[in-house]
Amino acid sequence: MEEFWAGVFWAMKIWLIMIISLIMIPAMFGFSLGISETYMTILMKTLKWATQKIQKANAEERAANNSPSNGLILRENGSMEKELGELRRSRPKPPVGGDFTLSDCFYFIRRGIESIVEDEVTQRFTSEELVSWNLLTRTNNNFQYISLKLTLVYGLGIFVRYCILAPLRITLACIGLSWLVIGTTAVGFLPNWRIKFWLSEWVHIICYRICARGLSAAIQYHNRENKPKKGGICVANHTSPIDVVILCNDGGYAMVGQVHGGLMGVLQRAMVRSCPHVWFERSEMKDRHLVTKRLKDHVSDKTKLPILIFPEGTCVNNTSVMMFKKGSFEIGGTIYPVAIKYDPKFGDAFWNSSKYSMVSYLLRMMTSWALVCNVWYLPAMHQQEGEDAVQFANRVKSAIAHQGGLVDLQWDGGLKRAKVKDTFKEQQQKKYSSMVVGDDSSSNSD
């Protein structure tokens, strides 16, 4: 019995030593031993081979079926004026007053039915559909049995992911997080010498690098000359909480957010000891002026790290960018936009918070193949003369969407579970009324 436990301890010791030497130490010092690169190359080759096999087998079927990534309908996006004009061409214009005809409603009916069949917003809150299966059970939609080899690879994949990669990643994540807490607390004891800032940044980056290894993240940074500088505001599209890890791997940021309890609370308190982050109590969040003031103070201090904000306010599935809330753009200061795009082949990074809790989401991440993403740093933007916060926000949003290859939508992501404000409906009604009532000023009084 004793030998059994001795054996177990010995195995665990070896396991930990391997992890520390092969993964942690390179992570701490920022160099790579090439293990993850080899893994990624093997992975990509395997997926490519699997794709080819599936496509060959499905060649005839594909011709008949709808490819899942295509839409179901082609929407005619003519403007209201154009379409109603066409509808009315058949009628002579009445001499007096408005111009309502029974056929006007056809336009609205058609648009309404199109929305029922397929709409832009709700498809943004489910995971992106894959063109070809990536050998994960969770993305298995219509893919049937193709060949023995493929099924074997699939089975091997399950074994590798759940029995080898997942424990490894979980260990790394635990080590990374505990290191963050210990390290930042230790640094917090130092007085405010220059060395404190340097050490605090170092501690933060190491922790995030370890966490990134813990997710098998392969990140490509583009245009690093545009990296956010101190005293600025970094703005990015939001897909999951892991965005923070991705961005912080390449520099220090000051986080903004609500104070949480539990594990998150411990992390937050620890982080604040070594360098200033902006955490709000729940009650403070409601007071917009207070929030803006605190952020303004932080930004005006040029020694503090740039703030990291996700203006969408919610996680979206990384195929589009939703409305940016204007609050972040009213603070002043330089905005550094960043675009993040994940490659869905290797793992779906989108956190569907209504479907998965944080813990099950993290477990799903740790049992995916890997996390491959591209980060583009865009040139800094300032609010221009005569531009209000909403227009500025939209400008930044378009730039991010354009760079990341995402669709630029004007809908509010925060409303995915609530009803849309009536202002949009009123806009439509206003537009229609101007066509119906027209320039008949005499009846427009009051």
Binding site: A64, N65, N66, N70, L72, I73, L74, R75, E76, E83, E86, L87, S90, R91, G97, G98, F100, T101, L102, S103, D104, C105, F106, F108, I109, R110, R111, G112, I113, E114, S115, I116, V117, E118, D119, V121, T122, T126, S127, E129, N140, N141, N142, W411, L415, K419, V420, F424, K425, E426, Q427, Q428, Q429, K430, Y432, S433, V436, V437, S443, D446
Partner: protein
């Protein structure tokens, strides 16, 4: 995203539905996936709230009226066959179809589409669009933007133009006549992609 490996067999009466509505197997499958997607609680039928979750529909001035058209009077639920039958109205009409008097009018012919639009106005399904029913639709489309008098004068004018037998309401034939010059097929069709 669809549930795992749904194929035609999971849809009850799929062959009859395809016959009746003219949707291809692929389209029917996609519509079934959409139906399941809208049916968030997996009830097997849809209620008005499920339609209201579509944001774009909420910004449509007659969104509620369109939602209402899916439900027969007095019904609070719509099942998949009814869902598809309504959508079938919006398939582009087949050209060069030989008219066989015995066959029922398909949903996506010009007459079928007109009938759908007519029923949108004629909420109580009594075969005539009354002044009040017309006012209801006008009110929905314009709400705060115009006064009640303007609404009434618009309704008055529309009825005067269309009402041929002077019974102060618009019957289906009068409706059809007043819209005979409109390219119904083009305006009330949705392009389903192959």
């Amino acid at each position: 995203m669809g549930s795992s490996s749904s194929n035609l067999n999971t849809i009850p009466n799929s062959q009859e539905l395809m016959q009746e509505t003219g949707f291809s197997a692929a389209h029917l499958l996609r519509l079934y996936e959409r139906f399941e997607f809208l049916d968030k609680d997996n009830k097997g039928h849809l209620r008005p709230e499920d339609f209201e979750a579509v944001q774009e529909l909420s910004t449509n001035p007659i969104g509620d009226i369109i939602i209402g058209s899916f439900f027969s009077p007095g019904q609070e639920t719509v099942d998949f066959p009814s869902f598809v039958r309504i959508l079938a109205h919006f398939r582009p009409a087949e050209k060069n179809r030989t008219r066989d008097g015995a066959q029922p009018e398909p949903a996506n012919s010009s007459t079928g589409k007109l009938k759908f639009a007519f029923q949108l106005y004629d909420r109580d399904r009594d075969g005539k669009i009354s002044r009040e029913e017309l006012l209801q639709v006008l009110r929905a489309m314009l709400e705060m933007q115009v006064t009640e008098e303007q609404l009434e004068s618009m309704a008055e004018r529309a009825i005067q133009e269309a009402d041929l037998d002077e019974d102060d309401a618009i019957s289906f034939d009068e409706f059809k006549k007043s819209l005979e010059k409109v390219n119904i097929d083009h305006k009330m069709s949705i392009h389903f992609m192959k």
